[in-house]
């Protein structure tokens, strides 16, 4: 009797477990799947009653194709925004990783005066909202551009990718230094000392021993940086205006206003904009989870 009761209990708990798992899966996947399915509706069906028909009767990939049609205004704006986002997020990632890694190594391993002050100020800067930087940036860039026009130099900062890259580095670099420092602290001192006994200089030890060991950390940090830059909205909203520099977030927000929403474009461009970060995250998920832990806890 006791054994059978135990079996029944186990069976019930399995059913409950799978029920919960299914709820979690639906909760996690349903909204985004719905956005994708909505992108498959022809525009006319999109505007009709959709509660009775969750799936399109005549599915089409026209909405997605339209985003890449260079001959239309919509396609042009989207492709430029996509290109700008890739250039900006890519450059920011590379620059932040190079400078941030060097600085993080110094902060994790070398002895020098004011080290703790630097680490503390990095944390303090992270407390401030981005908006605290937007106002002074805006005033400075507005004034700079005014003087640049006066001097007849054919360059200004407003509405350029360079400007956006500089501003993004400003608010992401500290974060990269912080996470990479955390990673370097997890690597045992002895490995480096062994390399140095074998005749390596400090930089050689960094290059040959420390960096290969922290490759997972570099990958994770690189993806975080890319995601932060890809995701950024406030600065792009304030400092970009035309296809010369607008990024995908600004483009997607511009698709809807108080009065009208271009739902076909929202679905298609939203899905495409989500692809790079989602694919990166899924490809490198092992590194990411480890990186999330090391980055947030060690340090």
């Amino acid at each position: 009797m006791v054994i059978r009761e135990g079996k029944a209990k186990k069976y019930v708990s399995r059913v409950i477990l799978y029920g919960l798992v299914i709820i979690i899966v639906i909760w996690t996947l349903a909204p985004f799947s719905w956005l994708f399915v909505s992108g498959l509706f022809p525009y006319k069906e999109l505007l009709s009653d959709r509660t009775t028909s969750w799936f399109p009767k005549n599915p089409t990939i026209k909405n997605f194709q339209a985003m890449f049609d260079m001959s239309s205004h919509i396609g042009q704006r989207f492709i430029y925004a996509l290109r700008n986002s890739l250039i900006v997020a890519g450059s920011v990632t590379v620059i932040c990783l190079i400078f941030g890694t060097l600085a993080a190594y110094a902060l994790a391993r070398l002895k020098f005066p004011f080290k703790n002050n630097i680490v503390m100020s990095l944390i303090a800067i992270r407390m401030l909202p981005t908006i605290a930087l937007v106002i002074p940036f805006f005033v400075i860039i507005r004034t700079l551009d005014y003087h640049l026009i006066q001097t007849n130099i054919n360059f200004n900062f407003y509405n350029t990718k360079i400007n956006l890259i500089i501003l993004y580095i400003a608010f992401i670099l500290g974060f990269v230094i912080w996470i990479m420092r955390g990673f370097f602290l997890t690597i045992p001192h002895e490995l480096e000392e062994a390399a140095r006994i074998d005749g390596c200089t400090r930089l050689q030890a960094l290059w040959r021993v420390i960096l290969p060991l922290s490759a997972p950390g570099l990958v994770a940090t690189g993806i975080f940086t890319f995601l932060l830059a890809w995701d950024e909205f406030v600065l792009a909203l304030v400092f970009t205006k035309t296809t010369n520099a607008i990024t995908l977030p600004v483009y997607i927000v511009s698709l809807g206003s108080q009065y009208i929403h271009a739902y076909d474009q929202i679905a298609a461009s939203g899905f495409i904009a989500a692809l790079p970060p989602v694919i990166l995250a899924l490809l490198f998920q092992k590194f990411l989870v480890k990186g999330l832990m090391a980055g947030s806890i060690k340090g």
Binding site: V21, I24, W27, T28, P31, F32, W34, L35, R50, T51, L102, A103, Y105, A106, L110, K111, F112, I125, R126, L128, P129, T130, I131, A132, L133, I135, P136, F138, V139, R142, T143, Y146, I169, A170, G174, E193, R196, T201, R202, L203, D231, V234, L248, P249, I252, V253, L255, G256, Q258, Y263, A273, A274, P277, V278, L280, A281, Q285, L288, L292, I297
Partner: protein, 316 residues
């Protein structure tokens, strides 16, 4: 470790490695911040080619503390947003992690899809939920409610509306009114929670995995039920990760801007939105800067409280 002949000293090497980063941070972070701090003591408005400034001392700060009712309503609604989101994220995050820590078929798949909401750009998330919450036959949530027969066919809820829920409950209704907790705010909390909770789940999950089964088996033999197993074994071991989540999430939530601005423009004035409106819409650079430093100060205060908690726990 002694250095070899010709090798740089530790200080020299450190200064070379740090130089590019320090230059960048000083020029594009600390410089502008000092400038913003300076501006916060001035009445600064745009003029052609620059700004006009007039020294006003502390009056920008004092204005918010003593004269501006909008400031305190922003503090209230931001605090409400932060606290409710945090509680939801922690409860759902821990709950989901406990489920995903069990053994079941397809576990790697379920774990990897946890990354999807986290990786989704905030802007896409905002637009997606705005559409889900849309009215009439167009929005998925109203549609779902009708399919499940929770709502009659001709009934729609304005999910992103300004109505305040729980009005018929005496004290709660008054409180909701006072903090400005409209239906729209709650729906935005839900949308944001959907995106962030999987991250909490993954962090908690990573902390759960090293806990050996033998702890629970021993507790089970001693007659501890599921709840006391969670409370006396799991929860204490999760404390470090929970404190980290708490600090990081509070910081992020308190300065929320994107999702609220995209969905509601200036009609839900959390601190981030109010600062943006002051500085970037009305172009009051001085007041806006003062406000952004007040937000920073609030966050610093909360962080200090958490650090205190963290340290007092390390004593044990």
């Amino acid at each position: 470790m002694k250095r070899r002949v010709g090798e740089l000293s530790s200080e020299r090497l450190a200064s070379i490695l740090l130089l590019p980063s320090i230059l960048i941070v000083v020029c594009v972070v600390i410089g502008p911040l000092v400038f913003a701090f300076y501006l916060s003591f001035y009445a600064a408005e745009p003029v052609i080619g620059g700004i006009s400034t007039k020294f006003v001392g502390f009056s920008n700060y004092l204005h918010y503390f003593f004269k501006d009712p909008l400031f305190w309503s922003a503090v209230r609604v931001t605090t409400y947003f932060t606290v409710v989101s945090l509680v939801l994220e922690l409860i759902l995050g821990i709950g989901m992690a406990l489920v995903l820590n069990k053994r079941f078929i397809g576990r790697p798949f379920v774990r990897s899809i946890m990354l999807l909401p986290w990786a989704l750009p905030t802007v896409v998330n905002a637009r997606m939920w705005e559409w889900i919450y849309a009215g009439s036959s167009f929005g998925a949530l109203n549609g779902l409610m009708k399919v499940l027969h929770i709502f009659p066919a001709d009934y729609d809820v304005v999910w992103l509306g300004f109505g305040v829920p729980f009005q018929n409950i005496p004290l709660v209704g008054k409180f909701m009114e006072w903090v400005g907790a409209s239906t729209a705010l709650h729906m935005i909390i839900l949308a944001d929670t959907w995106k962030v909770t999987p991250l909490v789940t993954l962090l908690v999950l990573a902390a759960l995995q090293p806990i050996p089964d033998s702890y629970y088996e021993a507790a089970g033999i001693d007659g501890a039920n599921a709840w006391s197993q969670f409370w006396y074994i799991t929860f204490p071991l999760l404390r470090p990760v929970l404190l980290v989540v708490l600090v990081l999430r509070t910081m992020e939530l308190f300065r929320v801007f994107d999702i609220i601005y995209i969905l509601m423009q200036y009609s839900i004035r959390v601190m981030g939105v109010y600062t943006f409106e002051t500085g970037m819409k009305f172009l009051h650079f001085g007041r806006g800067s003062a406000l952004s430093f007040l937000v920073g100060l609030f966050i610093l205060g909360i962080a200090l409280i958490y650090v205190k908690l963290l340290h007092s726990e390390e004593v044990y």
